[in-house]
């Protein structure tokens, strides 16, 4: 559906995004993550044809350029701040973009906005504005929704509601590109992760693959610790021993199994040491910083 190919984005003469390429398919929920200033918002703006860029962006085989947005007719977005006119009520703000008033009313109910939707938006709290911004993005059955920090200012109930709504729309084929600093929240909905740093995409994987590949360490217990120590040392495999539990690197686990099998040492336990999503991301970013310094 959306194809981003070798995209470079510039603000003035400064290059913000370098050689970004990825695809989004119907029903995908892509988490766009990265540190502050990594280029997340710029990448989103670029997809919406709001920045100067080269490379190719196509939506359903129709190109998006800085001055041609016809392909974006079925795209909804919430970028930086919700686009709300304070002199209009919430309902009027939605009516400004809505093509189908019945669907608009349904969205108002689903986001629990009925109690204040007829009040002027200038009196809305941050969370109310944010929900209205999300509603505007979800209007008119979009094929692709781009949400920049959608959970900003939302309370727990609203966060759960928005999460459910995202899943519901995705099940019907709407694709999402969502950036958020609350990785734990993003982790609950996303099916694919794009990690961006210094304007470059450094990871573009399904969440399952990401978790599998980036678990940093495994713990190992065998029926013969002494023989295991000797075997690992002999094969120059790095480990840390704590009591009878070894901590080994994930990239060595297949080799270790082969060595121990050859030595007839049985495994009692080989399991990833639980590291959450945030730790994995931080580890990857640190690793990339290290690579940068090495270069």
């Amino acid at each position: 559906m959306l194809v981003v190919q070798n995209v470079n984005t510039y603000i003035g003469r400064k290059q913000i995004i370098t050689d970004a390429s990825f695809k989004i398919h119907p029903g995908d929920i892509i988490g766009l993550i990265g540190p502050n200033g990594a280029g997340k918002t710029t990448l989103m703006k670029t997809i919406l044809g709001l920045t100067k860029f080269d490379g190719q962006i196509q939506l359903n085989q129709v190109s998006v350029t800085e001055n041609q947005h016809a392909a974006l007719a079925q795209v909804g977005a919430l970028i930086e701040h919700p686009a709300i006119y304070p002199f209009l009520t919430g309902q009027q703000n939605l009516a400004l973009y809505a093509h189908d008033s019945a669907a608009c009313q349904r969205l108002i109910s689903e986001l629990n906005m009925t109690t204040y939707i007829h009040d002027q938006a200038k009196g809305y709290s941050l969370g109310m504005k944010q929900k209205l911004g999300i509603a505007i993005a979800l209007l008119n059955n979009p094929q692709l929704v781009i949400l920049d920090e959608p959970m900003n200012g939302l309370d727990v109930e609203a966060t759960i509601g928005v999460r459910q709504l995202i899943r519901q729309y995705a099940a019907q084929g709407t694709a999402f590109l969502i950036s958020s600093h609350i990785l734990s929240e993003l982790q609950k909905v996303m099916t694919q992760v794009i990690l961006i740093n210094h304007g470059r995409i450094i990871v573009n994987q399904s969440t399952a693959e990401f978790e599998r590949l980036h678990h940093q360490a495994y713990q190992l217990r065998t029926e013969d610790s002494q023989l295991t120590v000797e075997s690992l040392a002999k094969n120059q495999i790095h480990y840390v021993l704590d009591g009878d539990t070894f901590q080994v690197n994930s990239e060595n686990i297949f080799e270790i199994q082969d060595i121990l099998t050859a030595q007839h040492v049985h495994l009692k336990e080989l399991a990833p040491i639980s590291s959450n999503f945030e730790q994995m991301v931080v580890h990857l970013l640190n690793q990339q910083r290290g690579d940068h310094h090495d270069n």
Binding site: K52, E80, A83, Y85
Partner: protein
């Protein structure tokens, strides 16, 4: 295009200022009628109780906030990506303000017809001959028509400034300065009597078009241009400001 126009009309229609402005216009027209003198009925009727100046003031405020409200409410990004192209956003806004401009002028004429019936000033027939050997009703229609062109020129200037400056307070201030001080700047430039043949074509001079139409003898000495030349200058600058304003808008980063 139709949906962009619908959005712009919807916003204009829901702003208090849009509906407050005709009331302000009426009050200012009444104040003009009261202050200008009992025997100046013909001038008041031909100029719609000085409505051109008051409409200009209203348009500066409404026009300046047309773009700046998008910047200040963070709505410009949504507006842009939802429109097929930037030209459509710019054009829709321009058309809506033009229609509002026409509506204000129509109201000014209706208010004039109403004010003429009350004994605020000396009663004069609409068929009485006044400017250019024409009846008063014709003077009023032509003054309004000329003023629509002058205010369209001012709108183009405001749009250009709005695309350069994001703050509506600054745009309003600069626009008011240019509109109401512009003629003095132009007059001072021309009073120096150097390069008059060139300087008389300065854009500030075009703000004199309406005033010169209903007061030729006084304003010709200020503008150094014939009515026809002022008209040509106004139309040319209008076109120039629209194009330059759009090019700035197109290049602007949000």
């Amino acid at each position: 295009m139709a949906f962009s126009l619908y959005q712009e009309f919807y916003k204009l229609n829901h702003r208090k200022l849009t509906w407050l402005a005709p009331l302000v216009l009426l009050i200012l027209m009444i104040l003009t009628g009261l202050s200008i003198g009992y025997n100046e009925s013909k001038l008041l009727m031909a100029t719609c109780y000085n409505a051109p100046d008051w409409i200009m003031l209203i348009l500066v405020v409404v026009g300046a906030t047309t773009f700046s409200m998008e910047f200040q409410n963070n709505a410009i990004l949504t507006l842009l990506y939802k429109s097929p192209n930037k030209a459509l956003v710019y054009l829709s806004k321009y058309i809506v303000i033009l229609v509002y401009n026409l509506w204000l002028h129509l109201l000014a004429m209706l208010f004039t017809l109403g004010l003429h019936t009350i004994p605020m000033n000396q009663s004069v027939s609409w068929s009485a001959i006044y400017l250019y050997q024409q009846p008063l009703w014709e003077n009023m229609l032509k003054t309004v028509a000329v003023d629509v062109l002058t205010t369209t020129f001012i709108i183009s200037l405001i749009f250009l400034l709005s695309c350069l400056i994001n703050s509506n307070a600054v745009v309003i201030s600069v626009s008011l300065l240019m509109v109401f001080m512009g003629q003095f700047v132009s007059a001072n430039l021309l009073n120096a009597e150097k390069f008059t043949q060139i300087l008389r074509w300065n854009p500030f001079n075009m703000t004199n078009l309406t005033r010169q139409y209903y007061n030729y003898t006084t304003y010709f000495d200020t503008s150094h241009l014939l009515n026809q030349q002022l008209l040509q200058g106004t139309l040319s600058y209008t076109l120039l400001f629209i194009v330059v304003g759009y090019l700035i808008f197109r290049k602007k980063r949000f």
